[in-house]
């Protein structure tokens, strides 16, 4: 049942409160926390916020639900956490905090509405049988009209974003493959033309067209395999570089590029036959010519 929704809303609200408090200079020192009467409620802050605001475990901070910083409440930083890498929030500020729900409700509740202290944005439910999520959601909707219940996995718009991005990347890959193939063909046409005399001599000494063609195919396969493997090594070598750059740029632990065995196999499976085909296509026009044409200077 939308497992991330609740935590996201609370995190977002808390992040807004906390960033506001910090921005207003309401942060306090550990000394103040020690001087406070009674134990302060705990709060966890993200690594990014801790770094930006110079917070450490034991620091005390003041949070407020009011944009002007009014009615603020003091908290003690109980820990610093690394936010869960979330591709959907890659550009969002990672200045966030986690509070106990009663503490957050106490700050955000509307005094005129007694129900507001009993109100949350969402409830996450872990089912004993996760396969029954869709059925369970339907039942909740039927029993409590006005409530929105949906399974966390499958069919969400977040998944659709990545499906679209995958299609976009695939389209770019197709264009790149087409361009590479055309270039490869141009190169092989030139290389084959360069070997016109050699092919002519081979034909003159008795080698059949099929024999020469099989030689061309094998040669094309060897070159294509070597090229594909080199490309793979280059990809693996640059994988870390790309990840490090984007992880630094977005300040996240997300992995952006991962060359899996499936991706590697798919690359080789496309590159090798294409390379061999380009060799064959380029050689075909030459091999159709007569032996005398090939051998003449």
């Amino acid at each position: 049942m939308a497992p991330n929704y609740n935590s996201k809303m609370i995190r977002a609200a808390a992040a807004a409160l906390l960033s506001l408090a910090i921005a207003l200079g309401l942060g306090a020192s550990p000394e103040r926390a020690r001087a406070a009467e009674g134990p302060l409620p705990d709060v966890l802050v993200s690594r990014q916020l801790a770094e930006a605001a110079g917070l450490a475990v034991g620091s005390s901070i003041r949070l407020s639900a009011d944009p002007s910083g009014g009615s603020s409440r003091e908290f003690r930083v109980a820990g610093v956490y690394e936010p869960l890498p979330d591709p959907m929030r890659i550009n969002a500020s990672k200045h966030e905090a986690r509070l106990h729900l009663p503490d957050l409700l106490q700050m955000t509740a509307d005094p005129a509405d007694p129900l507001s202290t009993e109100t949350v944005d969402a409830v996450n439910i872990a089912l004993a049988n996760p396969d029954g999520a869709r059925e369970f959601a339907r039942e909740v909707r039927a029993r409590r009209p006005g409530l929105i219940a949906r399974p966390a996995a499958g069919g969400s718009s977040e998944a659709a974003v990545f499906v679209v991005l995958e299609r976009f990347h695939l389209a770019i890959a197709i264009v790149t493959i087409v361009a590479s193939t055309v270039f490869l063909l141009a190169l092989t046409v030139m290389l084959v033309d360069e070997r016109r005399e050699t092919v002519g001599i081979l034909r003159l000494i008795g080698l059949t067209t099929r024999r020469v063609m099989s030689q061309v195919v094998v040669e094309g396969l060897i070159i294509a395999t070597a090229g594909a493997l080199f490309g793979l090594v280059l990809g693996i070598a640059s994988e870390g570089l790309v990840n490090r750059y984007f992880q630094w740029h977005y300040d996240t632990a997300l992995i952006f590029v991962r060359i899996t065995p499936d991706v590697a196999l798919r690359s080789v499976a496309i590159a090798v036959p294409l390379g061999a085909l380009a060799s064959v296509a380029a050689s075909w026009t030459l091999l159709r010519r007569s032996v005398l044409f090939l051998a003449r200077r």
């Binding site: 977002a12 807004a16 506001l20 639900a65 009011d66 944009p67 002007s68 890659i90 550009n91 969002a92 955000t108 509740a109 509307d110 509405d113 129900l115 507001s116 109100t119 949350v120 944005d121 909707r141 009209p145 006005g146 929105i148 718009s157 659709a160 974003v161 679209v164 991005l165 299609r167 976009f168 389209a171 770019i172 264009v175 790149t176 087409v178 361009a179 590479s180 055309v182 270039f183 063909l185 141009a186 190169l187 046409v189 030139m190 290389l191 033309d193 360069e194 790309v242 984007f246 740029h249 026009t285």
Partner: protein, 401 residues
């Protein structure tokens, strides 16, 4: 015969080779052109969408995007204060919320976005059927639906609809409210599958059970003709220092730093990869081509062609190949951009009017500059081979082989 004509004949002499080379350049350059369009496409398109509404400054309670942060309190009073500024032509409070329409039958309820605005001369929507909302923000009992929602609910102007609003924490059991459909409207930021509706702030407050509430998510401000957006923003900030005012340019710049940055990053990476790829391939093509004609070039030198002249031939051949390929890349790139745009626009939440690839003259200028630089760089190594070619030794080798 000048160097260009000579290079042209060299290309024409081997049409298959030249054609494939040009086709390869065209394909790579088309991808390069598309990445240039993508690098600023969302920014240009979003700026156009924002400007089209007629409002050039947006005012919110905090730096958070509208709908995600605290709401503006005393919105009407703030709008009235802004209207008194000479720089401001119009200030319209706008509220955003979620509602569920009673769809009847098996469908049950249909969730939709509800825009609530005080009516003004400029509207953040376009009425395409029926009539617009009337009044100055007071409850009118009228609502506008977008086409998707009207079709889903099976309603036309004049019909009535029943809705329940979700007004944030503590209001989960609000009563149903009946409104009459005034017309069908298009909302600029709707995605193709979105359900949207609009009503006055008064009706939205009534739906939330808070008739006296005077809150909005943002104020849309239109500058007067004499004052620019930046001057208006400064005047607003001076008058209401607790609020956040952003011009459309600043909104777009924020998006470029945030939500749009992925596409800027990927376009930068792909521009670099594409340029490197085309540079490498064109260099290889020219080098192989020159190596095959070493005897011919040495003979030309022996006949009296200067070193500069044969180098110019190579540069011209590179320029012709890259130039023709680059020119073909423009229409090819536009067609490819249309395809890629259609792929990306399926992404949920993307307004139907927003485009990822947008044509700009400056993209063509950058494209041409990059293509010229690639042609020159790709020709450097073959030029060096030709310039340092030993005439006698090359001719002797040619005869001996």
């Amino acid at each position: 015969m000048n160097a260009l004509a000579f290079a042209w004949r060299s290309l024409v002499r081997q049409p298959a080779r030249a054609g494939l080379g040009i086709a390869g350049v065209a394909a790579v350059a088309a991808l390069l052109f598309d990445m240039l369009l993508l690098s600023r496409g969302l920014v240009v398109s979003m700026q156009d969408l924002l400007d089209r509404e007629g409002f050039d400054v947006r005012v919110t309670a905090t730096a958070s995007p509208p709908g995600t942060g605290p709401r503006l309190r005393q919105a009407s009073r703030s709008a009235a204060a802004l209207m008194a500024l000479p720089e401001v032509d119009e200030a319209v409070p706008l509220g955003l919320s979620e509602v569920a329409f009673d769809a009847g039958g098996d469908v049950g309820s249909q969730q939709a976005s509800l825009f609530a605005a005080d009516t003004s001369r400029r509207r953040p929507w376009t009425v395409v059927e029926g009539r617009d909302l009337a009044g100055g923000g007071q409850p009118t009992g009228m609502v506008l639906l977008n086409r998707n929602l009207a079709a889903e609910l099976g309603r036309r102007p004049g019909d009535s609809v029943t809705l329940r609003a979700f007004c944030g924490a503590g209001r989960s059991a609000l009563p149903l409210v009946s409104l009459q459909v005034a017309g069908i409207a298009e909302f600029p930021f709707d995605d193709p599958t979105q359900f949207s509706a609009a009503t006055t702030l008064g009706d939205a407050a009534r739906a939330c059970g808070e008739e006296n509430r005077d809150e909005a998510d943002l104020l849309l401000v239109a500058s007067s003709e004499s004052a620019g957006a930046e001057n208006t923003r400064a005047a607003i900030q001076f008058l209401l220092p607790d609020l956040y005012a952003l011009t459309n340019e600043e909104v777009v710049a924020r998006l470029q730093q945030g939500e749009f940055s992925y596409f800027r990053q990927i376009s930068t990476v792909l521009v670099a990869v594409t340029l490197g790829f085309s540079l490498l391939l064109i260099t290889v093509l020219l080098t192989v081509s020159v190596n095959q004609r070493l005897g011919e070039i040495a003979a030309l030198r022996a006949l009296g062609f200067s070193r500069r002249r044969v180098v110019a031939d190579v540069v011209c051949e590179s320029a012709l190949m890259v130039g023709i390929g680059g020119a073909l890349a423009l229409p090819l790139g536009m067609a490819l951009a249309g395809w890629l745009d259609r792929i990306l626009k399926v992404m949920p939440g993307i307004p139907a009017e927003l485009h990822f690839f947008v044509f700009e003259p400056r993209a063509v200028v950058v494209h041409v500059a990059l293509i010229v630089a690639t042609a020159v760089l790709a020709a450097l190594y073959p030029m060096q081979i030709v310039a340092r070619l030993p005439i006698a030794a090359t001719l002797r080798n040619e005869v001996v082989s």
